[in-house]
Amino acid sequence: MATMPILPNMPALDLIKSFKLKTKQQELLIRVSILCLVYILAFITRLFSVLRYESMIHEFDPYFNYRTTLYLTQNGFYDFWNWFDYESWYPLGRIVGGTLYPGLMVTAALIYRILHFLRFAVHIREVCVLTAPFFASNTTLVAYFFGKEIWDTGAGLVAAILIAICPGYISRSVAGSYDNEGVAIFALLFTFYLFVKAVNTGSLAWSLASAFGYFYMVSAWGGYVFIINLIPLYVLVLLITGRYSMRLYVAYNCMYVLGMLLAMQIRFVGFQHVQSGEHMAAMGVFFLLQVFYFLDWVKHMLSDTKLFQAFLRITVTCAVAVGAIALGLGMLSGYISPWTGRFYSLLDPTYAKDHIPIIASVSEHQPTAWSSFMFDFHILLFLFPAGLYFCFKRLSDATIFIVMYGLTSMYFAGVMVRLILVATPAVCLVSAIAVSATVKNLTVLLRSKNKGVQTGSTKGSSSSKASSKALLDQSQPFQKNGAIALLFGAFYLLSKYATHCTWVTSEAYSSPSIVLAARGAHGSRVIFDDYREAYFWLRQNTPPDAKVMSWWDYGYQITAMGNRTVIVDNNTWNNTHIATVGRAMSSYEDEAIEIMRSLDVDYVLVVFGGVTGYSSDDINKFLWMVRIGGGVFPVIKEPDYLVNGEYRVDKGAAPKMLNCLMYKLCYYRFGEMLTEYGKPPGYDRARGVEIGNKDIKLEHLEEAFTTSNWIVRIYKVKPPNNRW
């Protein structure tokens, strides 16, 4: 409320003074401006790769998402929802409409349509590239409101700032990383916030909102299983600790029933909410809640406790018996399917290595090392336990939730590197509580002397405590100095965190993976754009119905950029098909050509890093091809390719290794190549050895294209010889 000066010729200082806002408005202005800056910061810090390279989609999976989004914008939702893709997994095809999570694509298409409606004629690729940073900014806002709900506005602000630059989140939401997680983490935090709000207020409207949030999460990512198990666990903990209330009943029931129904609208999820073992916890807690509250109601109605005890005994035995019988029947008859391998390997980390080599081979599924934790969390790693302490000091429904979320997500983050992403919001929120509470206590100490004199202040309760404290603290004159020192220490730590996060983002998480960069001899930057070169060669120089066989890593990129049919791609839904390709790559050329002819393969694509020293090439991945192929076809035995348990490609390598298809295709004509000064020809820079078999002759394939740095090599399958 500013009182406008009546006389126009007032001096400038008085003019400014007359606009002085009340303290509450000052606080609001500060908060809003901080949130605006954080919003912009979260967006900007993810733009490194766009500035350094160009606006393109990174990695492998985002290419599939991009292709489906393109299809959606071109053909409309009905065709997208019922799309059968015959260009991948030849000859099986893939029911795309029923095997993807549409949330990301629909979101990007919606943003695209809104922008076009406002007459911004952007290409869908630009929208796709920038979707993840946009949703990261939205996540910071949700983190602010969540922090406000759990603790207070100070914690909310700190949470927003921490999550804006936390590397654990940036790793999967950088510009160009057009993947489900970019949207899913926003949906996750949003759902949790709405649910906690519903439990705090007991309002049906908030529960409905959380059901919609859950629906958005289910449409966005397979990790929704985490929500549908954490929330029942939370309800169970509240019931056990005696914090149950009517609000909990309203919140959970409305969210569960409506959320379950909405989730079943996604074809990929289908009936899993009633048939899969992973979702049974939610249903069990649902029925438990009904029984529990029914008993509570009866207890309230009956005045005689002895009668109630009898009733209690009867009901509990009946309920437990019915529940156990139903669950047992369901599991025994196989109606309720057991936990799938993907999630079972989270509970038993050794399971995938023994039973499902495809899951074990993904680098993101490996257990997390301490260095990864430090890299991704920095100071949050020790602020997290401090925050837990504060949460336990002031237990409420909301803080119990964030404690549970933090502990369970940290456990899973320890099992699988990829899940650090899910733990990041919890860690940021809990650390924010620690930071905010500590800084608040310190500043209260600092202002305690002044507060004893003044009476007016905004934080009324803290000032009265402070004034009483001020009387006690007269005997310790160094407390103020100590507080100042600690505050400086806190600010130093936080600035170090900001520096670390920016450095990590710039160095580690902003590489597009499809374009490689290195330092040349004079320190200049050398760009290797071989992947795109090869895909565009495929697009322009092969017949439109050509089928390309490669390892499954490159499938999505080949279909999206090369526009050709592939045999296997990153969806990895059919292990036998992948094993067939693995077998073909690991066999001698004569056996492999049989397999390739049976699959109608026209071109074979391999990735080779021997000339550039690129280490993620197919020769380094070859043992996984052998393992996966050998898992289905016992004729492929891993020891055949190893020498004394060692994997070698030089003269001492196993004979099967030196003559298998993958070796031949990668090293064809490489024996004449001089790669490094002072080394013999045929020196493999990625393995650091001179190759063993330099005189390679191909009988059934011919070289079609090799990119300028030899990174991608394409071979054409020759038609069968004429009989004569």
Binding site: G202, L204, S207, V250, L258, L261, V298, A310
Partner: protein, 116 residues
């Protein structure tokens, strides 16, 4: 506890429950009647499914879940409207009913989409 006394206990239980329930206000009794009707409808559907088989499973699920859903929402309404609940003291019954109607609307829209 002997047989006769447990029978007496059951009888006493029944009577005291009945008398306690008779004291609830009329609007809550109407909601309870609605909940009972919804559960009864759900049970009939389950029995029908047991006889006929569950072939269009989505139709069966949507039918049962609409009954269960509306029953659960009615119980939530009853909780919010009940004067004895101190937590919902400052929630007006009109607001509670409006939330109830909104949630039911969403529930039935989703059911109609899911019914096939």
């Amino acid at each position: 506890m002997g047989r006769a006394s447990s029978k007496e206990d059951a009888g006493a239980l029944f009577h005291s429950l009945r008398s306690a329930y008779a004291a609830t206000p009329l609007n809550l009794k109407i909601i309870d009647l609605y909940v009972g009707f919804a559960i009864f409808t759900a049970l009939i559907q389950v029995v029908y499914m047991a006889i006929v088989g569950s072939f269009p499973f989505n139709s069966f699920l949507s039918g049962v879940l609409s009954c269960v859903g509306t029953a659960v929402l009615a119980v939530c309404l009853r909780i919010q409207v009940n004067k004895e609940n101190k937590e919902f003291k400052d929630l007006s019954p009109e607001r509670a009913f409006a939330d109830f109607v909104l949630c039911n609307l969403v529930l039935h829209l989703v059911i109609m989409n899911f019914l096939g």
